[in-house]
C-alpha cells in the first residue's frame, strides 16, 4: 500500500517534464540503447534523452550524456541507469536531477544546478542514495551476493 502511494506520487511528479528533451547522447560506444515507454531505442550520438528514459548498455557498451544544465553523465559497460526526474530552470539555475543506477558503473561531473543548490542531484542505487555536492564522482553497483538471494 505504501509502495503504491509512493509510486503514484513519483509518477505524478514526473509528469510535467515527460516528452521534453533534457539531455543529448554525446558519446555512444558499443551497444547502447534507451528504454522509453516500453520500447527499446538504439542510441547514437545526437539521440535526445528524456525524463523516465533508461540508458542500457551491453558488455562492450558505454554512453555519455550532456544534460541541459551542463551535467555530464557517462554509463559504463553492462549498466542500467534510469533518469527518474530532471528539471532545470535556465534563468534561476534551480532544478533537480534524480537518477537510479540499478547495475553497472557511472561517472559524472555535476552542472549548474548543483553549483546553485548542492544535493539537487541525487543518484540512487538499489540499496543507497547519494547526494552530489560537487563536481566529479564515480559509482559502481554490484549484484547482491548469490547466497543472500531469497
Amino acid at each position: 500500500m505504501r509502495m503504491t502511494l509512493i509510486a503514484a506520487l513519483l509518477a505524478a511528479m514526473a509528469l510535467p517534464a515527460l516528452g521534453a528533451d533534457v539531455g543529448i547522447v554525446k558519446v555512444a560506444n558499443g551497444s547502447v540503447a534507451l528504454e522509453r515507454e516500453g520500447a527499446r531505442i538504439p542510441a547514437a550520438v545526437g539521440t535526445p534523452v528524456q525524463v523516465s528514459d533508461v540508458v542500457v548498455t551491453g558488455a562492450d557498451g558505454a554512453a555519455g550524456i550532456t544534460f541541459s544544465d551542463n551535467s555530464l553523465v557517462s554509463v559504463g559497460p553492462d549498466s542500467r541507469f534510469a533518469i527518474d526526474r530532471y528539471a532545470f530552470d535556465t534563468t534561476t539555475y534551480a532544478g533537480e536531477f534524480q537518477g537510479t543506477l540499478s547495475k553497472g558503473r557511472l561517472a559524472a561531473v555535476s552542472g549548474k544546478m548543483v553549483k546553485q543548490s548542492p544535493e539537487s542531484m541525487k543518484i540512487r542505487t538499489p540499496s543507497a542514495i547519494m547526494g552530489v555536492r560537487g563536481t566529479e564522482f564515480v559509482v559502481q553497483v554490484d549484484e547482491p551476493a548469490a547466497t543472500a538471494r531469497p
Partner: protein
C-alpha cells in the same frame, strides 16, 4: 512537500533493506580536471557519510555496513576506464567582439575565431548557441536588430566552416545584458559581442 517525499523515500529504503539483500555499491570522489575536489554524501539505512577527498570512497558492504577508504589512480582506471572515457567533453564558451554598429568582428576576435572552430571540430555532433549583444548606443529596437545580425553573421561563419545549420541556434539580446554596465548612449567595445556556447 519535499520533506514528506524525502521521508517516504527513507521509509521505502529502510523497508527495502529489511526485506531484500543489499546490493553492494562503491561511491568515490575524483579530482576534477582543474584539480577541484568535490564532495558527495552517501546514505544507507539511516546512516549518512560524506566523502570529500580525492579518490576517497564509501563502499556499501553485503552486510549493509559502509566502509570508507581510498582508491588508487590505477584502481580507478581498472574499474572505470571505459566509463570515464565516455564522459562527454565539458561545454566550452567563447566571447568575440565587434566593430561599432557593425556585424564585422574586431581584428583580434577574427584571430580568436580559429579557437572556436578548433573546439567545434573536436566534437562529433556539436550543439551551439550564439547570443548577440550590443552596447547602449542607439535605440533599443536598433540594438535588438544589430545583436541578432551579429549572432546571425556568426552562425553563417560557422555554417561556412561546415557546421550543420540545424546544430546552431542564434539569438539576440540587444542591450539587455551588458557585460560592462553603462548608462544609455555609451560606447563600450566590451559590450559589442557574441557569446558562443559549444556543447
Amino acid at each position: 512537500m519535499a520533506r514528506l517525499i524525502a521521508a517516504l523515500f527513507a521509509a521505502a529504503l529502510a523497508a527495502g533493506c529489511a526485506s531484500q539483500p543489499v546490493s553492494p555499491a562503491l561511491f568515490a570522489v575524483l579530482p576534477a580536471p582543474d584539480g577541484h575536489i568535490g564532495a558527495i554524501a552517501v546514505e544507507h539505512g539511516g546512516e549518512r557519510r560524506v566523502i570529500d577527498t580525492a579518490y576517497g570512497f564509501q563502499q556499501l558492504q553485503p552486510d549493509g555496513s559502509l566502509k570508507p577508504g581510498h582508491l588508487t589512480e590505477v584502481e580507478v582506471r581498472t574499474r572505470f576506464g571505459s566509463t570515464l572515457e565516455a564522459l562527454p567533453a565539458p561545454p566550452a564558451s567563447f566571447t568575440l567582439y565587434f566593430l561599432e554598429g557593425s556585424d564585422e568582428l574586431t581584428a583580434s576576435s577574427k584571430e580568436d575565431l580559429e579557437h572556436v572552430f578548433a573546439e567545434i571540430r573536436h566534437r562529433p555532433l556539436p550543439d551551439i548557441v550564439v547570443i548577440g549583444h550590443t552596447d547602449t548606443i542607439g535605440a533599443v529596437q536598433y540594438n535588438d536588430r544589430l545583436s541578432l545580425a551579429r549572432a546571425g553573421r556568426m552562425r553563417d561563419m560557422l555554417i561556412e566552416r561546415g557546421v550543420p545549420a540545424d546544430r546552431i541556434q542564434a539569438r539576440g539580446r540587444g542591450e539587455r545584458e551588458l557585460l560592462v554596465p553603462t548608462e544609455d548612449q555609451v560606447r563600450e567595445p566590451r559590450n559589442r559581442r557574441v557569446e558562443i556556447n559549444v556543447r
